[in-house]
């Protein structure tokens, strides 16, 4: 439930810029194809494997490109336009390349009253991203605000890629980042 570029008031910067135009190398071959076949066995329709397939694509490539969507569409018997319609509904599929570390800070009300806005400021400052949704000059970080991460009693929860951190404060942000460097 992350805020996209428009909500953040900036635009996601492709890093590096020509990344988006690289030809798509198929993902669903070998082990990944077998994994998808196993997933398909769980549902009465092929379409139901769409979200899992997109997750596999993103795990492999770091984001969901047009070429990737076309491959998923082909594998599941859907149209690329349909797949894109689904991708754009959800906030966790990256439609642009993002920094090596994708930082999502919860700022919804329960965390907000515990100082989440200061945590966001600290991340923006220490990663040198400067602005929400922008990738840092070294291509390592993208920081965004996210809506309720469902860990409100552990304010402020922060997701860095798939790592879920609890009770982060503005003061502990430098330590969190030091772990990644």
């Amino acid at each position: 439930m992350s805020h996209g570029p428009s909500a953040a008031g900036g635009s996601l910067v492709a890093a590096p810029a020509d990344h988006a135009h690289e030809p798509h190398v198929p993902v669903f071959t070998g082990a990944r194809r077998q994994e998808l076949d196993m997933i398909l066995g769980r549902y009465p329709t092929k379409m139901a494997a769409l979200l899992p397939a997109l997750w596999i694509l993103q795990e492999e490539r770091g984001w969901v490109s047009e070429g990737g969507m076309a491959e998923v569409a082909g594998v599941l018997g859907l149209t690329p336009a349909y797949v894109k319609g689904v991708v754009t509904f959800y906030t966790m599929y990256h439609q642009h390349p993002v920094g090596k570390y994708f930082v999502q800070v919860c700022t919804t009300t329960p965390c907000n009253v515990c100082g989440a806005e200061d945590v966001v400021k600290a991340f923006l400052q220490h990663t040198r991203c400067g602005e929400l949704g922008l990738t840092s000059p070294d291509g390592r970080f993208t920081v965004i605000e996210v809506e309720c991460l469902g860990a409100c009693g552990f304010a402020t929860p922060v997701m860095i890629n798939s790592d879920f951190l609890e009770s982060v404060t503005a003061d502990t942000v430098p330590d969190v980042l030091a772990e990644l460097r």
Binding site: A48, F89, M92, V113, C148
Partner: protein
């Protein structure tokens, strides 16, 4: 609450008893704690008998609506020749709520057992657990538990050696609050955009994949396991004697400006005053409680006076002018500005609107703009009336209740904390307006 603190002496730990125990996460550890006894017992019963035990227990849905669980299960007609499905709603994303997360993190097998038991009771062979994508640890724990359950023959074509087929599959969401709405969840599970569906048809008639479906919250299914294991009479023993409509224990997630945030499990009818001051440790040092949202972001805000007079059950919270909802207790103290926080809630709903219905798509966005304008000191008195008017247009007019949920905190906020709104409205502007009108 079990974790990270030891349970308070006044808690009734049933579902949260094993929170914090790493061993309880494993199949062996879970069996040692009485795990899968309920499923074994259930598989020896007729499905209709399980449904009547759950009906008799008085268990009601713990996701927010409080619908009687046994009654919901009884809508699934046996022998209709169609595949039935159970969906477990583990998309927990109501701000303030993090109880299902702890159930899945600490006692994943309890949920696997609940899903298998629930599926059998409604004549289904397959249960899908839809877990929000952000819940990385609950996803890991649930995937591991499901694998263990298959490997040991609890799930599969010959579940627990009974010859019955029971499958439980974990499905990972991809970021959308609205997928916690039951019909949106089904669309999402089918590989579609998570737009809520118009009802009727209700899920019991046409749910996921167009087939009869029951959808239950995580906590509900885990509670059903205890009901089957220990009996309806035992479950009904939790609650106040003068209110048989609310039975059992309830897990509350407590967050915001409170000394000891976390999950607490108390019997229905527990005094909210004692809950906040004794169990949760009261306000932070040197501060005072100001307001509470007791059931997740979608229910009306209570003043402390109202909250302290409330008994914690479905009817008690209604009597206190609000709702039990999901049990996500958000506490605000005297250092918080209610306008700022209600504006933040409105922004949440605007961000999460699926944008199908005009009242919601436009209403949540307008509400956010006006609330933020007032917050920033550019509001007018007229804005307060406009907010209430928009809120009325957003209530009861849309496919799902997200729109209503946005209107609720705004309306209750203006009604109960009007002085905080008015304090932010520039006085000069108000005077100038009056002066111009008189001239």
């Amino acid at each position: 609450m079990g974790y990270p603190h030891k349970p308070h002496a006044r808690e009734s730990v049933v579902l949260s008893e094993h929170f914090g125990s790493a061993e309880a996460r494993t199949l062996a550890g879970w069996r040692k704690r009485g795990g899968y006894q309920a499923l074994e017992k259930a598989l020896g019963m007729a499905p209709a008998d399980i449904v009547s035990v759950v009906k008799d227990s008085g268990l009601r849905g713990r996701g927010g609506a409080g619908f009687p669980t046994g009654l919901k299960w009884s809508y699934m007609k046996p022998g209709d020749g169609k595949p039935h499905y159970l969906c477990c709603n583990a998309d927990e994303s109501e701000p303030g709520t993090f109880k299902d997360r702890e159930i899945m993190r600490w006692t994943p097998h309890a949920l696997v057992e609940g899903c298998a038991l629930g599926a059998y009771a409604i004549g289904a062979e397959t249960a899908y657990v839809y877990i929000r994508g952000e819940f990385t640890e609950p996803l890991q724990q649930m995937n591991a538990a499901v694998q263990e359950a298959y490997a040991s023959g609890i799930l599969g074509a010959n579940a627990m050696g009974t010859g019955k087929r029971l499958d439980v599959h974990v499905h990972k969401g991809a970021g959308a609050y609205i997928c916690g709405e039951e019909t949106a969840l089904m669309n999402s599970l089918e590989g579609k955009r998570g737009n809520p569906r118009i009802k009727p048809p209700f899920p019991a008639v046409s749910g996921v994949f167009g087939m009869p479906t029951t959808i239950n919250n995580v906590e509900t299914l885990v509670a059903a396991v205890e009901v089957v294991k220990r009996g309806a009479a035992w479950y009904k023993g939790f609650g106040r004697p003068d209110n048989p409509k609310s039975t059992g224990t309830k897990l509350y997630s407590v967050c915001g400006n409170v000394a000891r945030p976390g999950n607490y499990e108390v019997p229905m009818g527990f005094p909210f005053r004692d809950f906040l001051h004794e169990l949760c440790g009261g306000p932070l040092p040197g501060r005072k409680f100001k307001a509470v949202i007791p059931g997740g972001a979608s229910v009306p805000i209570q003043t402390m006076e109202e909250a302290e007079a409330t008994l914690m059950d479905y009817e008690g919270f209604v009597a206190g002018g609000t709702m039990l909802g999901s049990g996500g207790v958000i506490v605000f103290d005297d250092q918080q500005n209610m306008v700022k926080q209600i504006a933040r809630l409105a922004r949440f709903f605007a961000h999460e609107s699926c944008a199908q219905c005009t009242q919601c798509r436009e209403g949540t966005a307008w509400t956010t703009k006006i609330m933020e304008r007032i917050r920033d000191g550019h509001g007018t008195y007229e804005d307060l009336d406009t907010l209430l008017d928009i809120g009325e247009q957003m209530t009861g007019k849309t496919i799902c209740v997200l729109s209503d949920s946005c209107a609720v905190p705004v309306a209750s906020g203006i009604r109960k904390f009007r002085h905080e709104f008015e304090a932010l409205i520039p006085k000069k502007q108000g005077t100038a307006f009056v002066a111009a009108a008189v001239a």
